[in-house]
Amino acid sequence: MINFFKKKVNNYPDYWLEYEKCFNKKPIEDLSLVRFVVLDTETTGFDYLNDRILCIGALSLVDKNIALNQSLELFLKQEHYNAETAKIHGILKNGGASCISESAALEELLGFLKNAVIVAHHAIFDITMINRALERNGLPRLKNKVLDTSHLYKKTLLNSNVFKKKEHYSLDELAEKFDISKKDRHTALGDAYITAIAFLKIKSRLKGKGLLRLKDLLKMG
């Protein structure tokens, strides 16, 4: 019989243990000190099972500052390949910058993420893609807290019967609303940047309503 209470013995690599250790620290509540990692993934498609991550872009955000020397842009080697998505993302198989293996990318990503709060647009998609990749490499799921700018954005809108909120707001809509240049749209890091600026603008608008704590943000999105 399987004993559910027995701690499974796992041979997780060092980088996972290192990542896990970050979460032993007490979480910070002061919003201006919390480290956010804004990330976006470009994938071969929208199928969680068969599609793979092509590229991961991530920016580190503390208070209102994005330090560019603390950003991550990873291109992944591909086996599974879909010509349709490549057209959008402009990333050719094994072309362009130096591509690394999925496991190497995960190692870099976890080392970058640490215990930061993840911010992404339609976060569920990116997080699931990453979790699937972790799973394939025999690792557990991400432990970070997650904020979704598409949910948070809705909270900035008026609550009025006169105007119906949409179910989903695309990153393009946010970029237009907040006047963010869409120059690097559809590159992982470019989208992460748009998400980051949108997140800052959303945060400033929500603050106006008297909501300031990380707890509140997490509750909303």
Binding site: G57, K64, L68, N69, S71, V162, F163, G190, K201
Partner: protein, 640 residues
């Protein structure tokens, strides 16, 4: 490590000095070390006498105001590509000015440690810095120095080059000197004047002005055949040149031009004809300096080819508004002029947007300004509320036509956003498919509101019914108005609902006649002037005027005046309302200018005793008009 974003940063920086002289590789390396900083409107970047940050800043988006001293005069306004906060880092001293985000801004913070070696190694960068520090402007190549046709590093007065902070007494002359020598031929002179788009050419010898040749001189001497086209400058130039020093005031300049009947003055270093020429002042410069002239502004708006230039003009409009209020010019006149100017801006934006569309509009259309803009009561920039109506088209063409106008509306909304009108948070904009309809569709929508007056329908009507045509086919709008009158006559119950909506605003004062303030939220403890004082008046005027079927009077104050005319027995109260509306509007505008916002929320404790009394006086009028509305439309019959 280089990445997509640092690449984008480098791409941006390379357009602006001193980064334009760095080579691509260095710029890329520098860009990686940059921190992108987001600043909310009115947040402080650094204060006067603060210790210097390890960074200096470049504005990527938005605007930053540099202020100095206790009275916080704006010394400089930095926008896209401007550098600030560098001098104290180089001089290793504390900040001499404070920097505050004038708009919501994105800045690039560049670490001085990384940048300094470039400044030391690269002579061009170093020179730029020395020049900019010496001239006390953040960017010696910008604005006044553009063109760099004179190498005089003069101590420019510290007043910012932006017109809206320009002291109207001092004159801004053109430093873009175009000169020739005494032996240059008339043909070359004419060519260069055309090329440089100037109306006069200064003839100099060792940088000292010896004569001037204007368009008029060329016309009188060359075109008439009096002199051949090869004539040398010295033959046809006018001399001596009338010179002044740079401390000339506008009035002095005007006087000088009138006295000598000339259109150009030469500015020299010490004001005499024997020193270096440093600038030229034309009649046009004087006109621009007198920019607080609505006619000049209207002309400038109509000439604007880019949305960006309209944004600049809007700053002058704000300055004009401030002047009018300072000089206590009647608010009635002020409102008219400013609305007219705002209107011209909107029209120009629509024109520019139409030019951007690949094809001409398939049918006639009209752009409607709603809400306060529709009522011509918008003095300050607030959110945009607008709608579009177009001619009826056969059913098969409707989708295609709607798509065209939605695309156009999107351009216009973006243009309005770019000149400072925020997007409407409730999406009441023409780019929203619900607000961009054919005449037929609008009629249906309006009928629906009037026949089923629920809370939402009444709210929508109260926003929409203040529409005013801003651009396009006026017949469409008239037909819409007729439709509203006809339908409301058929369904008089609508008045009752509209009236009850008008009475639902919260009371401005409490039981003890104290001003009621907001209890929570962003504006806790401040008084909501719009909701508690202005809206009750606006709403009352709307329902009353609608019941009289009066169209095309949109301004609340004017509506009350019209009502006074229509109902002589109520003249007194309606005139009081008209007065109260104007007083409150002025109050709001003053507050808004003071705080660089919409002026809607007022901190009660910051008001003077006199202001408080003035404010309270209007409340009595509000109460009276609400009673009148309540009795007339028998609102008490309706559950409130």
């Amino acid at each position: 490590m280089k990445n997509t974003i640092s690449h984008r940063v480098a791409d941006f920086l390379k357009n602006f000095p001193p980064f334009n002289v760095l080579d691509q590789k260095d710029l890329e390396t520098l860009a990686v070390e940059i921190t992108i900083v987001y600043k909310e409107k009115d947040s402080v970047i650094f204060a006067e006498n603060d210790e210097p940050h390890p960074y200096f800043y470049v504005v990527n988006k938005g605007a930053v105001a540099l202020k100095k001293g206790t009275d916080k005069t704006i010394m400089d306004m930095c926008d896209e590509g401007d550098i600030f906060g560098l001098r104290p880092l180089m001089a290793q001293e504390n900040y001499k000015m404070s920097a505050k985000a004038h708009e919501e801004s994105i800045l690039y913070a560049i670490p001085i440690d990384i940048f300094k070696p470039y400044a030391q190694q690269n002579i061009a960068v170093g020179n730029f810095l020395i020049e900019s520090f010496a001239s006390n402007t953040r960017n010696p190549y910008s604005k006044s120095h553009r063109g760099k046709l004179y190498d005089e590093v003069n101590d420019v007065n510290p007043i910012a080059p932006d017109t809206h902070v320009l002291d109207l007494q001092s004159v801004q002359y053109s430093k873009k000197l175009v000169t020739c020598s005494a032996t240059t031929s008339a043909k070359t002179i004419a060519k260069r004047m055309t090329e440089k788009k100037v109306g006069a050419m200064l003839v100099v010898k060792d940088k000292v002005p010896i004569g001037i040749i204007t368009d008029k001189d060329l016309r009188n001497n060359i075109v008439t055949g009096k002199y051949p086209i090869t004539t040398k400058a010295q033959e046809i130039m006018v001399s001596p040149v009338i010179t002044y020093n740079k401390h000339l005031t506008i009035t002095q300049a005007q006087m000088a031009m009138m006295k000598s009947n000339i259109s150009h003055l030469c500015i020299t270093k010490d004001g005499t004809p024997n020193s270096k020429a440093i600038g030229i002042l034309s009649k046009h410069d004087v006109m621009v300096a007198l920019g607080n002239n609505p006619a000049v502004l209207i002309k400038a708006i109509k000439r604007a080819k880019k949305i960006k230039s309209i944004k600049q003009i809007r700053k002058s409009i704000t300055q004009l508004l401030q002047d009018y209020l300072d000089q206590n010019i009647p608010i009635k006149l002020t409102t008219k002029i400013i609305s007219e100017l705002n209107d011209a801006c909107v029209k120009q934006i629509i024109k520019l947007s139409l030019e951007e569309m690949p094809t001409k509009p398939p049918v006639k259309f009209a752009w409607l300004a709603l809400g306060s803009q529709g009522r011509s009561e918008q003095l300050l920039q607030t959110d945009q509320d607008n709608a579009m109506v177009f001619e009826n088209v056969p059913e098969g063409k409707l989708i295609e036509t709607t798509a065209y106008f939605l695309k156009l509306a999107k351009l216009i909304n973006k243009g309005l956003f770019d000149i400072g009108y925020d997007y409407c948070p409730a999406e009441m904009m023409a780019s929203n498919p619900n607000w961009c309809l054919s005449l037929e569709e609008w009629k249906k929508t309006i009928s629906h509101w009037i026949i089923n007056p629920g809370t939402d329908e009444v709210l929508l009507s109260s926003i929409f019914f203040d529409y005013n045509i801003a651009y396009g086919e006026v017949n469409l709008v008239n037909e819409l108005s007729e439709h509203i009158f006809e339908t409301t006559k058929k369904y008089p119950i609508f008045y009752l609902h509209l009236a009850s909506g008008a009475l639902q605003n919260p009371s401005p004062t409490g039981f003890f006649r104290q001003l009621l303030v907001e209890e929570d939220g962003e504006h806790k403890d401040s008084f909501d002037l719009k909701r508690r004082a202005l809206m009750p008046l606006t709403d009352a005027a709307r329902v009353l005027i609608l019941s009289h079927s009066v169209k095309s009077i949109n301004s609340t104050a004017e509506r009350f005046e019209k009502l006074a005319e229509l109902e002589p027995n109520n003249e007194e109260i309606f005139m009081a309302c008209s007065y109260a509306t104007r007083a409150l509007l002025k109050f709001r505008t003053k507050q808004g200018l003071l705080h660089n916002d919409s002026g809607r929320y007022i901190a009660i404790d910051k008001l003077t005793k006199e202001e408080r009394i003035k404010l309270k006086r209007t409340f009595k009028t509000i109460k009276e008009i609400q009673e009148l509305v309540s009795v007339r439309f028998k609102v008490s019959n309706l559950l409130r």
